[in-house]
């Protein structure tokens, strides 16, 4: 309820009490007036009844006509008063009493009239003593009796009117008191409520406003009720909310400014740091704008060009290039504006002393927020002038070496091929000499001829091996995708006789498909497995062929249970014609592992072994995946 309404209620209560009191006064005035009128009427009746009794007694004593007339007159008066009383009194009890009055009046009137009629007028001797008969006495007695009753009735009627007036007065007092007390209590309660509400609400409001004023914009004042203070509380809360929003905005702005300052400071520090880094960097670094004007130029660049940064900043990049390469270099540089990022672009830089440095550049272009408009490009260079010289020298050396190797291979091939024929002639004619002059030659001559033939045969073998070794590179096929199982199968078929003879068992794991020369891969498997059978131990050969994935290459292994190899021969066994055993112990020229090594290296792989003497060996070789 609104306070204004409460105050109106107070005013209404006061007004109501006033109206009630006035109504009560009016009512009681009416009631008391009515009761007073009744009392006056009854008092008049009592007076007349009393006068009537006096006149009655006067007549009883004297029997005078005057008394009779007066008594009758008073009886009429009393009758008229009674009639008025019937119109005035309305209460049931009063009316019942009035009826009794009327009955007693009638009785007295009849009885005394009868008495007066009976006794008659005293005409002759008015001093004569009056005597009453028994009937007279009886009549007088009844008159007295009814007269007393009549008086009693009138008195009771008077008391009733008096009670009515007293009651009206008491009721008036009670109503006024009750109205006053009720009104005052209602006023006190309402006022107390208003006071309490005002005190509590204003206290809460004051506290809330103080808190909001102190900056607690999240505080909300309680808004129960629907009075003016509620509206004020709501308005205060709205004000607090808006203040809070404003304050938050200011705080955010301040925070943003602070953040920006910190950022700017950090940026300055970073920029300064970057500048220092750029300036102090060993690599030449420079920055140019979209118009290709130099905006930064570090010390390394100063050293590279012999120019001072202060001299070149603001100038076009063109001043940095040899005159015959300006257009080419600028064309390359323009591409950076389209977002092209250099990873390793060589651009020649002109030194102030006219020398030219070859610089390998990488760059990055910084664009505006739209991602299109270039702002600046930074480029870092690496002076590779010396390296380029070294590379050119190396290329020349490699070319010489390759040419030399080819010539050597050509020589070995040609030599081995061309040597075949004279060697066959030596061997054939020596054997023909022995056949023609069989029996003519002594044993020593035969022995010498055998030596010559044997030597020729061995030399032929060596030449064949050498020819095969040289063919690895000279006549090697192209690399193709080869299923290693197929290559291994071909090798095993070639070795089937030896495997059967030695009771060898070869098992293999899952093998990969590799990029290789099929026949050469078969050759590698065949040579390694053949060696494992050849250099077997006392137990039948057990050979395990496996392959592992090393990521960028496959690693094949051939494990045997043969006699093993002393580790000290690791560097010797892959050299052509190097043998660890005599020909009598193990036949052969010592070309097999050398060919394996040459094939693997042709495939850009590696080959090595792990072994202990008497414990078997494991030969590994790798093949690149591509």
């Amino acid at each position: 309820m609104k306070i204004k309404t409460r105050l109106r209620i107070n005013a209404l209560i006061s007004l109501g009490v006033l109206v009630l009191i006035l109504a009560s006064l009016a009512w009681s005035y009416f009631e008391m007036s009515s009761a007073t009128r009744k009392m006056d009427l009854v008092a008049e009746m009592r007076k007349v009844a009393f006068e009537r009794i006096i006149l009655r007694d006067d007549y009883i004593l004297n029997h005078e006509e005057r008394g009779r007339i007066q008594w009758n007159a008073k009886s009429e008066t009393l009758k008229g008063l009674m009639e008025s009383a019937f119109e005035t009194f309305t209460n049931t009890e009063d009316l019942a009493l009035l009826k009794e009055v009327q009955a007693n009046y009638i009785a007295t009137f009849i009885l005394f009239s009868r008495f007066m009629k009976k006794t008659g007028k005293k005409e002759d001797n008015f001093i004569e003593e009056i005597k009453f008969t028994e009937a007279d006495s009886r009549l007088i007695g009844q008159v007295f009796l009814r007269a007393y009753s009549l008086t009693d009735n009138i008195n009771k009627l008077y008391e009733s009117a008096l009670r009515a007036r007293t009651s009206a007065r008491d009721n008036e007092v009670i109503i006024i008191l009750v109205s006053l007390i009720s009104g005052v209590i209602a006023l006190i309660i309402n006022s107390a409520l208003i006071g309490k509400i005002l005190t509590n609400r204003l206290t809460a409001l004051g506290k809330g406003v103080a808190l909001i004023g102190a900056g607690n914009f999240d505080y909300r004042i309680a808004t129960e009720g629907n009075d003016e203070l509620t509206a004020l509380a709501l308005a205060s809360n709205e004000m607090a909310m808006k203040l809070g929003l404003s304050y938050t905005s200011i705080r955010s702005l301040e925070s943003e400014i602070e953040q920006r300052k910190r950022t700017e400071s950090a940026l300055r520090e970073t920029t300064e740091h970057l500048n220092n880094l750029i300036d102090q960097a060993n690599a030449p670094i420079m920055v140019w704008d979209p118009q290709f004007r130099i905006t930064r130029f570090n010390h390394a660049f100063e050293n590279l060009t012999g120019r001072q940064a202060t001299d070149v900043i603001g100038n076009s990049l063109q001043i940095l290039f040899p005159s015959d390469q300006v257009e080419v270099s600028m064309e390359t540089i323009r591409k950076t504006q389209t977002g092209e990022r250099w990873e390793a672009v060589e651009i020649h830089i002109l030194h102030i002393d006219e020398t030219i440095s070859i610089v390998l550049w990488n760059s990055a272009t910084i664009f505006a927020m739209d991602g299109i408009t270039p702002i600046a490009t930074i480029a870092q260079g690496q002076d590779i002038t010396n390296r380029k010289v070294a590379e050119e020298q190396l290329q020349r050396t490699l070319a010489d070496l390759e040419r030399s190797n080819k010539e050597l291979e050509q020589f070995a091939y040609v030599a081995s091929h061309d040597l075949q024929e004279p060697l066959r002639m030596v061997s054939s004619y020596t054997q023909l000499l022995a056949q023609r002059y069989e029996g003519q030659l002594d044993e020593k001559a035969k022995k010498y001829i055998d030596y010559a033939v044997d030597g020729a045969v061995r030399m032929q073998g060596l030449i064949n091996d050498l020819l095969a070794y040289s063919r690895v590179n000279m006549q090697g096929g192209t690399f193709e995708s080869v299923d290693s199982h197929l290559a291994l199968g071909a090798a095993l078929r070639n070795l089937s006789a030896a495997m059967q003879e030695n009771g060898a068992l070869v098992i293999n794991d899952d093998l990969p498909t590799v990029q290789a020369d099929t026949s050469q891969l078969t050759q590698v498997f065949q040579n390694l497995i053949g060696n494992a059978i050849k250099f077997r131990g006392t137990d039948p050969p057990r050979i395990q062929v496996s392959a592992g994935d090393l990521g960028h290459e496959w690693c094949f292994s051939v494990k045997d249970n043969g006699i093993g190899i002393d580790a000290k021969y690791a560097d010797k066994i892959f050299v052509i014609f190097q043998r660890l055993h005599t020909r009598q112990e193990y036949p052969g020229t010592g070309i097999g592992l050398a060919i394996c090594k040459r094939i693997v290296e042709r495939h850009r792989g590696r080959i090595w072994f792990e072994s202990e003497f008497g414990q078997g060996s494991i030969f590994y070789f790798t093949l690149p995946k591509c």
Binding site: I106, R138, G141, R146, Y148, T151
Partner: protein, 342 residues
């Protein structure tokens, strides 16, 4: 520490069991309060009353149990006539009696130490002369030479004398025959008498029986009959509280008559075991009110003079009736009802 465990059901059970207890306690308190309002210990009292309808207040107080409420253990003692009820008090058989004024006068004139506690009912129309038209009685003058049945020693005797005197009929001109009220109907039927004078309910039943064949002679002016409650003077002196309680009960009955006359009539009819219609018929003829007024004194003295002249007692002087009226009781409970000039 005591822990009260009260689930919803048990609480409701407890409440329903407590409610009657509280109600009984309240009733007991009210009862005690009522009893506390009654002064003094309860007293036993024997009331001799008339079965005639001339003490409505006593009848109602009996019927409604007002005597008990006011601390009296009453023993009702019914009598056909007031003079018989008074005789019971005089004989020590009852403590109080309801009776009309004439028996009181006769008792006082014969030096009986009685006292009137209060007048409880008055009437100017309770008694009448009932005559047979067939016997030629149509007006008061026609009574001359006729036999009139009267219950002597009652108010009826006084009424008849007053009636005859009022209508200039000498007593010697009529033949008064004493008879009880319940003998009168037959006496008229057998023409043993020409007329009778009596009061309700005999009067009412005769009116009903005779109808137009009867002549009913009333005179409301000549006699105001007062019905009173009397006791021995000794009893009133020794039991003033009992008398106050008795009077309080009658005042309650008076209030009931004012506030609910229908209920009052019903209670009277119920107590007297008569038809309610009969009570309703005679009801306007009576004023039931507890009083001690000056009219009673005049009435008693008037009847005393009548009794003395008639030789109904040896005593010839007028007694001071103030000595035979006990005003203290009514003054204590309703002083405004005592209008005797004292």
């Amino acid at each position: 520490m005591i822990h009260f465990v009260c689930d919803r059901y048990s609480c409701s059970c407890k409440i329903t069991s407590i409610l009657p207890l509280l109600f009984l306690t309240l009733l007991f308190s009210i009862s005690c309060e009522r009893q506390n309002n009654v002064a003094g210990p309860r007293e036993s009292i024997t009331i001799a009353y008339t079965t005639a309808p001339n003490a409505f207040l006593v009848d109602i107080a009996f019927a409604k149990g007002y005597f008990g409420e006011d601390g009296l253990d009453v023993k009702p003692q019914p009598h056909a006539l007031g003079k018989l009820a008074l005789a019971s008090v005089l004989g020590g058989m009852a403590d109080l009696a309801t009776t009309a004024d004439t028996p009181i006068v006769l008792a006082v004139m014969n030096d009986k130490p009685i006292t009137t506690i209060a007048a409880v009912q008055t009437s100017n129309k309770d008694i009448a002369i009932v005559a047979l038209k067939s016997r030629g009685i149509a007006s008061p003058a026609d009574l001359k030479g006729k036999k009139i049945g009267v219950t002597l020693g009652t108010s009826v005797e006084f009424f008849v004398d007053a009636y005859l005197a009022a209508h200039d009929i000498q007593k010697e001109a009529v033949n008064i025959i004493d008879m009880k009220p319940d003998e009168m109907a037959e006496a008229l039927a057998t023409e043993k008498v020409d007329a009778v004078s009596t009061f309700a309910p005999t009067l009412t039943s005769l009116e009903k029986v005779l109808g137009d064949s009867g002549t009913f002679l009333y005179d409301e002016s000549i006699f105001t009959e007062s019905f009173c409650v009397v006791s021995m003077q000794r009893y009133a002196k020794q039991h003033p509280e009992a008398i106050k309680k008795f009077l309080k009960a009658l005042i309650k009955a008076e209030t009931l008559i004012k506030q609910n006359p229908e209920e009052a009539q019903l209670q009277v009819a119920h107590f007297l075991k008569v038809d309610k219609a009969m009570i309703a018929q005679i009801w306007p003829a009576f004023i039931a009110r507890v009083t001690l007024d000056q009219a009673l004194l005049v009435d008693l003295e008037d009847q005393t003079r009548w009794a003395a002249k008639k030789g109904l007692s040896a005593r010839k002087d007028m007694p001071n009736y103030l000595d035979f009226i006990y005003t203290d009781g009514l003054l204590a409970v309703k002083p405004e009802a005592v209008t005797i000039l004292h």
